[in-house]
C-alpha cells in the first residue's frame, strides 16, 4: 500500500468472536516503538476503546499469528507486516 520504507504501519486482522467484538475484520495501524511483542500489542490494543477492551479482556485466551504463522504471546513482532488475533481454532 505504501512505498515508504521503515514504516511502522502493519495490518491487523481479527477472526471469529475477536472480529465481532472489535467490530472490524481488518485495519492498518501505526505501531508505537515501545510495542515489541504480541502480548504488548494486545495490551496496547486493549487501551484503544471499549470494543477493543471487550475483545482483549482476556488476552491469555487469544491466539495470534505473525505473517500467517502461529506465534506465542511472548514472540517479538520483528518485521511482521500482518498480525492476526483469533480464538483457539475449532475446524475439522
Amino acid at each position: 500500500m505504501t512505498s515508504g520504507q521503515n514504516t511502522n504501519t502493519i495490518t491487523l486482522r481479527y477472526f471469529a468472536w475477536v472480529r465481532e467484538k472489535v467490530g472490524l475484520a481488518e485495519e492498518e495501524v501505526c505501531l508505537p516503538a515501545d510495542v515489541a511483542t504480541v502480548a504488548q500489542l494486545m495490551n496496547w490494543l486493549k487501551a484503544r476503546g471499549e470494543t477493543y477492551e471487550a475483545a482483549f479482556a482476556k488476552p491469555e485466551i487469544i491466539r495470534a499469528a505473525l505473517d500467517q504463522t502461529h506465534a506465542r504471546a511472548d514472540a517479538p513482532i520483528g518485521s511482521a507486516r500482518e498480525i492476526a488475533f483469533f480464538p483457539p481454532v475449532t475446524g475439522g
Binding site: F15, Q68, H70, A84, P87, G91, G92
Partner: protein, 158 residues
C-alpha cells in the same frame, strides 16, 4: 498431495479415484469425513458457519500435510475443508491418505486430523433452532490428542 478450502461439497469416491487412480503401488486408502452433527450440548442446531483465515489456512494445511508425508511413507494424501454455511449431516472435512500398507495410512490420517483440529485457522459458529448462536469452544481433548505425536520437536505453537 493436495489441500483445498472450498464451499462446495466433495465426493469421497471421486476424490479417492482422483488421488490414486489406477496406481498399483497403493495397497491401503484411509478416509476421514467429518460431518455436522444435529445438536450441540443438547440443543438442536439449524446451521453451522465456518470462518477461516484465507492464505494462512492453506499454508497451515500444506505444512501439516508435508509433515505427515515426512513421517509416513505415503503414496498420496489430500485434505479438503469446507467453509461457509453448512447444515446438519453436511460434510465439513475430508482427509485421505494412501500408502502401500495400512498402518501408515491409518496413523497419517489420524495425525492429519489431530493437527488440523488444533492448528488450521478455522472457526465454527453454531446457529441453534431457537435463534441463538455461539462460537464453538476449542476442546481440551483436541490439544491433548496432539501430544502423542510429539515424539520429535515440532515448530507448532502451543
Amino acid at each position: 498431495m493436495g489441500v483445498r478450502v472450498q464451499s462446495e461439497d466433495f465426493d469421497v469416491s471421486a476424490e479417492i479415484s482422483g488421488l490414486t487412480g489406477a496406481r498399483t503401488d497403493v495397497g491401503a486408502v484411509v478416509t476421514f469425513t467429518g460431518t455436522v452433527r444435529g445438536s450441540a450440548g443438547g440443543a438442536p442446531i439449524s446451521s453451522m458457519t465456518l470462518e477461516h483465515y484465507p492464505g494462512m489456512t492453506e499454508a497451515e494445511l500444506a505444512r501439516v500435510e508435508a509433515e505427515a508425508n515426512a513421517r509416513w511413507p505415503l503414496s498420496a494424501s489430500l485434505i479438503i475443508h469446507r467453509i461457509g454455511e453448512l447444515h446438519p449431516s453436511d460434510n465439513i472435512v475430508l482427509v485421505i491418505t494412501a500408502s502401500a500398507h495400512r498402518h501408515a495410512a491409518f496413523e497419517a490420517a489420524e495425525f492429519l486430523m489431530d493437527y488440523l483440529k488444533s492448528q488450521a485457522p478455522f472457526w465454527k459458529k453454531e446457529e441453534r433452532t431457537d435463534g441463538t448462536s455461539n462460537w464453538v469452544d476449542a476442546r481440551e481433548t483436541d490439544t491433548a490428542a496432539l501430544q502423542r505425536w510429539q515424539k520429535s520437536p515440532t515448530k507448532a505453537a502451543e
